[in-house]
């Protein structure tokens, strides 16, 4: 069965190329749902696979809450863990991926991320190869599930490297890292889509480098235990320099020879937010890949975003190995979340953890019923503080003493400590703070419910609006049109559309598509972009060469649906321009004033483009002589709409959102379709010379 999955070739996607599904996707999600399906069916519970897919994300979000609890418990205590679990359960930043019906790689990946990190912390704490291997196994699952596994691949080495630099190398670190890296890397290479990347691409080199470094250090430790310190110093210096030079040379050499792939474009776009727009428009065209706007931090995280820094600072208080991990995770994830909206998802767990640490410290302090004794002159200082902190002090592991950073931090945080007793006096202060905190929690819950119901609960294929009487009106154009395609077109009819709708057409209409959401072939997408943005005469040969029978576009002008193809059109132009810079030029689609217009003032290139013609074909007739109005762009359309010679309107959905055109076959008489059309409409060809009239003699 596994072999069949790896060899699964889907000829209906990326027509005419086809796609090896097993080799071009992360199989984790499909495998998980398949396993659940088979288990349920073996138990005679015939649940439909679609129900499993719909409920997979909520199910896994429960596991995420549990693993966040385990992770936070390692950081502070159970109460912080419970808070963190509650936070991640409802925080909008994660709900966006865990609502029912969000069948996405991220649905299972966040659980795997948190659980792998938990196993890593546990392995590091106990020095247990068992937990190291467990971390590796879940890392493997993560690799099979989501491209974001590179985050783990780099977070764990980064953590280890920082620990080494801080002088915290220990055999526990060595065991944990080695077992994780060896088992994790070997198993991750079993995923066909990943293959040899773990040893050949730059993204994975950090993990390999740290693995090597750890071996050297461990070896050095071994040697030190057998040599005198003088000899060891010389040896260390020589070998460190030698190995460093060798390693760097080797890395450069391998990259130069092409053994190690250089950094990919996606990687560069993480550092330079303008890079993608210039060089890989297909990445920039996805709204999730845009830099994050400030309000969305509040929208997705609410008050956690204020508690988050406090929690990170509190990690400095104790600064055990695992706290360093949280600090690093917080810094790295904050940066990435700022670069791409989508990566907000990786930030959310650490925000929940840090905020839970901060919030539970607050509650611990203010709910703790022990009041400090009132200040008595001449009392020894240490006692009072000791009494208050006694509970916590028990739990703290013996602190590493000799680190530089740790020293600074502990000095900083304890500078004013001994002078005054800590604790809360009286009920009123407690009540003020606790009520305030509860109020914040209540507002958080209200906010999460509101955001979830407004932003994340509506499916994107079904739109809802309300009638004047308040009842719900459902706009179901997408499913209408897809079902029409499924029922009333030949089974092998090829449908061309922009790639956003590829999976939807494959799933709901069951027809071959040219491009889909698995954007593995940029040229093919650019071909579709070119066909959409050229004139009919240019586009027609492209359509015929790709056996296109139907062209499907989304048009929101009648209803005011803003996510339509005319609004995405510039991206099609840009992507096409990336491949055919001589034929498609973005400036031609703007007016002289640099405006993007679709009305009378639109530039001729725009007006003649296939996309424009298909969108507005017979649109103005709908208004029965009145001025036609595009409600998305609030522009008045010309009275006479565009005409089509090479395509026929085949279907338009109820609210005109989906319009499907059929590509005409070549004319039987060998004329070009434009002439044939003109002939059919009874128009005579203009003669170049007027007929000679016989003169009366």
């Amino acid at each position: 069965m596994l072999q069949a999955f790896w060899n699964w070739f889907d000829p209906t996607a990326w027509y005419p190329l086809g796609r090896v599904v097993g080799g071009t996707i992360y199989p984790g999600l499909m495998a998980t749902s398949g396993v659940i399906y088979n288990i349920l069916h073996a138990l005679h519970l015939p649940v439909d696979i679609r129900n499993i897919c719909v409920l997979l994300a909520p199910g896994f979000s429960a596991l995420t809450a549990w693993s966040t609890y385990m992770f936070t418990k390692e950081m502070k205590d159970e109460s912080a863990g419970l808070l963190a679990a509650a936070f991640i359960g409802i925080v909008p930043g994660y709900i966006s991926r865990s609502v029912a019906g969000s069948y996405d790689n991220e649905a299972i990946a966040i659980f795997l991320l948190m659980f792998t990190f938990f196993c890593w912390i546990k392995a590091l704490k106990t020095g247990s190869a068992f937990f190291g291997t467990l971390a590796a196994l879940f890392y493997f699952y993560m690799v099979a599930a989501w491209g974001g596994y590179a985050f783990i691949t780099n977070m764990i080495p980064l953590h280890s490297l920082v620990l080494i630099i801080m002088g915290r190398f220990s055999s526990r670190l060595y065991v944990a890292y080695s077992s994780w890296y060896a088992v994790g890397t070997l198993s991750s290479m079993q995923v066909p889509f990943v293959g040899f990347q773990p040893v050949s691409t730059s993204e994975h080199m950090a993990a390999l480098g740290v693995f090597g470094l750890l071996q050297i250090i461990a070896f050095a430790e071994l040697v030190r235990s057998h040599l005198s310190s003088k000899q060891f110093q010389t040896l260390l210096l020589a070998s460190v320099i030698g190995l460093g030079v060798l390693g760097a040379l080797g890395f450069v050499g391998l990259t130069y020879k092409g053994w190690i792939a250089p950094w990919t474009g996606r990687f560069y776009s993480l550092w330079d937010t303008g890079y993608a727009k210039k060089y890989i428009p297909i990445i920039a065209s996805v709204s999730e890949h845009q830099p994050t706007a400030w309000p969305s931090f509040f929208m997705d995280l609410h008050f956690l975003i204020f508690l988050f820094p406090a929690g990170v600072v509190m990690c400095f208080n104790k600064l055990r190995d695992e706290h360093i991990f949280v600090i690093l995770y917080a810094v790295v994830a904050s940066y990435f979340a700022g670069v791409m909206v989508r990566l907000m998802l990786t930030l959310t767990p650490v925000v929940c953890v840090a905020a839970a640490i901060a919030f539970s410290s607050l509650l611990d302090t203010y709910i703790d019923p022990i009041e400090p004794e009132s200040i008595v002159e001449g009392q020894p200082e240490g006692d009072v503080a000791g009494a208050v902190d006694s509970k916590k002090a028990k739990k703290t592991a013996p602190q590493p003493t000799s680190t530089a950073l740790g020293d600074i931090v502990s000095k900083f945080s304890s500078s004013s400590k001994p002078s005054r007793p800590h604790g809360i006096f009286g009920l009123n202060t407690r009540l003020i703070v606790i009520l305030n905190a509860i109020g914040m929690l209540i507002f958080f819950v209200l906010h999460c419910t509101w955001v979830t119901s407004n932003a994340y609960s509506s499916p994107s294929v079904v739109l809802a609006s309300s009638n004047p009487d308040g009842s719900q009106h459902i706009i179901d154009d997408f499913r209408e049109a897809y079902y029409w395609l499924r029922q009333n077109t030949p089974e092998n009819a090829v449908v061309m559309s922009w790639w956003d709708y590829g999976y939807q057409i494959a799933g709901m209409a069951d027809r071959p598509t040219l491009v889909d959401n698995n954007t593995w072939n940029n040229t093919h997408i650019a071909t579709v972009g070119k066909a959409m943005s050229s004139t009919e005469e240019v586009a027609y040969p492209i359509l015929r060469k790709h056996d296109v029978d139907y062209v499907l576009i989304i048009f929101g002008g009648l209803l005011g649906y803003s996510g339509d193809d005319i609004n995405k059109f510039l991206w099609m132009v840009r992507i096409a321009q990336g491949v055919w810079p001589d034929e498609i030029q973005e400036p031609n689609y703007f007016t002289r004033q640099g405006e993007y217009r679709v009305d009378e003032a639109a530039p001729p290139t725009m007006k003649n483009s296939l996309m424009y013609k298909m969108s507005y074909y017979r649109f103005s007739e709908l208004f029965g002589g009145n001025q036609a109005m595009d409600r998305v762009r609030s522009q008045q359309m010309p009275k006479t709409g565009p005409t089509l010679d090479y395509l026929d309107e085949a279907f338009t959905s109820e609210n005109w959102i989906v319009r499907i055109y059929q590509v005409k076959k070549e004319d039987l008489l060998g004329r070009d379709l434009k002439t044939a059309n003109a002939f059919a409409q009874g128009k005579k060809r203009k003669r170049t010379k007027p007929p000679v009239r016989r003169r009366a003699v």
Binding site: H44, W484, M508
Partner: protein, 487 residues
């Protein structure tokens, strides 16, 4: 069982008397035959009244003949005496080339004396008897159909006078055949049209017509081309699954329906603009199907209507309360459903429709036999549509034994198999019946009898609790076994 036995008996009886039948033309005479054809879409109702006069004493077996083409189209046939509602039994003899017709025998309840008369009514429903003409139509065009039939009603007996009335629902009849060369039977105009009715005949003194010779020389084809104002619907396939649950006291019925608009194929393409304009001015095209109103049984709840793309939200449901047992009521729960898109000529739409209903409305336990008896309706009528193929599945409770079923009309194929569903250990006995060409007269109830022992009811809770208990026991054991390698 009894019915089958009796039919065997008649078969034997008829087999013995077959030489008599061959010369049966002497025993009856048709004083008049009137055939009425109701033109419609995919279903055409034909009623033929035979005024029969017996020529000999003790005549009781009357033979009816259907032409070869007519037999092919006829999907339902019933005989009764005028003024009575009890149908008479029809014995099918099949096609015989010697007569050029398909013969049925009907036995009168009382034997007729010489010169006594009886009025026999044969009702048939023809399916796929009409076809769109022209075969393609633009979206804004009207819809016209063509119906073809034989001019003469065949009979193994001589007929004094014969008439055929063809009624259309609209007076717009574009054309019809005027038969020629029939001066032997009539001297007046062979066909008259008044309003929406065409009358062929009266034709007098027709000899025994179910002979090869008559069919070859005198039989004529007639065709009527008429306007039809409603969409022509065809259910190409119907799958009904009825699941009986004793635990939930519930009968779930689910229909998977493949619907097709068999009207003229759409010429050119569908234009939403035109469709919306037509609707705006209230002139929607007759061959466009936008909504269907279905009469579902009363007392049902949790109706669902979905297709492969999920729930279809464009339907309205008006439930009617359950009817108490034994009382008659014409109330129906009405479901007004709209397909996702308007169905134009030649378009298909498949969907699933299902509902739950209280089991006590459909069956009960019989004290005398100790068996349960449940009645499952054969189909929910799709208005004026023919069902080309139907598969009806009745899923009985787990552990049901002594299963017997009595369909209202014989199935093409039936079988009993095993169906395993939610938490079943053994599976449930399932009755499968297959039908072809169901019409609006194929209504009725399939009665299913079975026995469920008390232990079978307990099977599921026991199995589930045993599974959970073993799970807990495993967990219990695991907790107590030390799996550490070193202490």
């Amino acid at each position: 069982m009894a019915g089958r036995w009796r039919s065997r008996l008649t078969l034997l009886f008829v087999g013995l008397l077959s030489p008599l039948i061959a010369s049966a033309e002497h025993s009856f005479e048709n004083t008049a035959i009137v055939r009425t054809v109701e033109l419609a879409g995919s279903l055409v109702h034909v009623t033929t009244t035979y005024a029969v006069k017996a020529l000999e004493d003790d005549s009781s077996i009357y033979t009816i003949a259907l032409g070869e083409d007519e037999q092919k189209k006829t999907s339902w046939i019933q005989a009764r005496l005028k003024g009575q509602s009890v149908p008479l039994e029809l014995e099918n003899f099949g096609f015989s080339p010697r007569t050029g017709a398909h013969l049925y025998a009907v036995e009168f309840p009382q034997t007729l004396k010489a010169n006594a008369s009886a009025n026999l009514i044969i009702e048939t429903v023809q399916t796929h008897a009409t076809y769109p003409w022209p075969q393609e139509a633009f979206q804004k065009d009207g819809q016209s159909l063509k119906y073809e039939a034989d001019l003469f009603v065949l009979s193994p007996y001589p007929t004094v006078v014969q008439r055929t009335k063809i009624r259309s629902s609209s007076p717009q009849i574009h054309s019809y055949t005027t038969p020629e060369d029939i001066e032997a039977f009539t001297l007046e105009s062979p066909v008259t049209k008044s309003g929406s009715t065409l009358t062929y005949g009266p034709y007098n003194n027709i000899p025994t017509s179910s002979t090869e010779d008559f069919v070859k020389t005198n039989q004529k084809r007639i065709a009527v081309h008429y306007t039809y104002e409603a969409p022509v619907l065809e259910v190409t396939k119907l799958e009904r699954a009825a699941e009986i649950s004793h635990w939930g006291a519930n009968l779930n019925i689910q229909d998977n329906i493949w619907l097709r608009n068999a009207g003229p194929r759409l010429k050119g393409h569908f234009s939403r603009l035109e469709f919306q304009t037509q609707n705006y001015f209230g002139r929607s095209a007759p061959h466009t199907l936008t909504s269907i109103s279905l009469a579902l049984p009363p007392g049902i709840h949790d109706v669902y209507f979905y297709d492969l793309n999920g729930n279809v939200s464009t339907s309205r449901f008006r439930p009617a309360p359950s009817v108490p047992k034994g009382s008659q009521s014409n109330q129906h729960s009405i479901l007004e459903m709209r397909p996702r898109y308007p169905m134009l000529g030649g378009w298909n739409y498949s969907f699933t429709l299902g509902w739950d209903s209280p089991l006590e409305d459909y069956g009960g336990w019989q004290k005398e036999s100790g068996k349960y008896l449940v009645g499952i309706p054969v189909q929910t009528l799709m208005p004026s549509a023919v069902v080309d193929e139907a598969e009806i599945k009745i899923i009985l409770p787990e552990g049901a034994t002594d299963v017997a079923f009595h369909p209202p009309f014989p199935a093409v194929m039936n079988s009993i198999s095993n169906h395993i569903t939610y938490l079943d250990t053994m599976g449930r006995p399932t009755i499968k019946l297959q039908y072809k060409q169901l019409t609006d007269r194929h209504v009725g109830t399939i009665y299913v009898e079975y026995r469920v022992p008390f232990s079978a009811h307990l099977k599921k809770p026991l199995a589930v609790s045993a599974a959970f208990m073993s799970l807990f026991a495993l967990a219990f054991a695991w907790k107590r076994v030390d799996t550490r390698i070193h202490k």
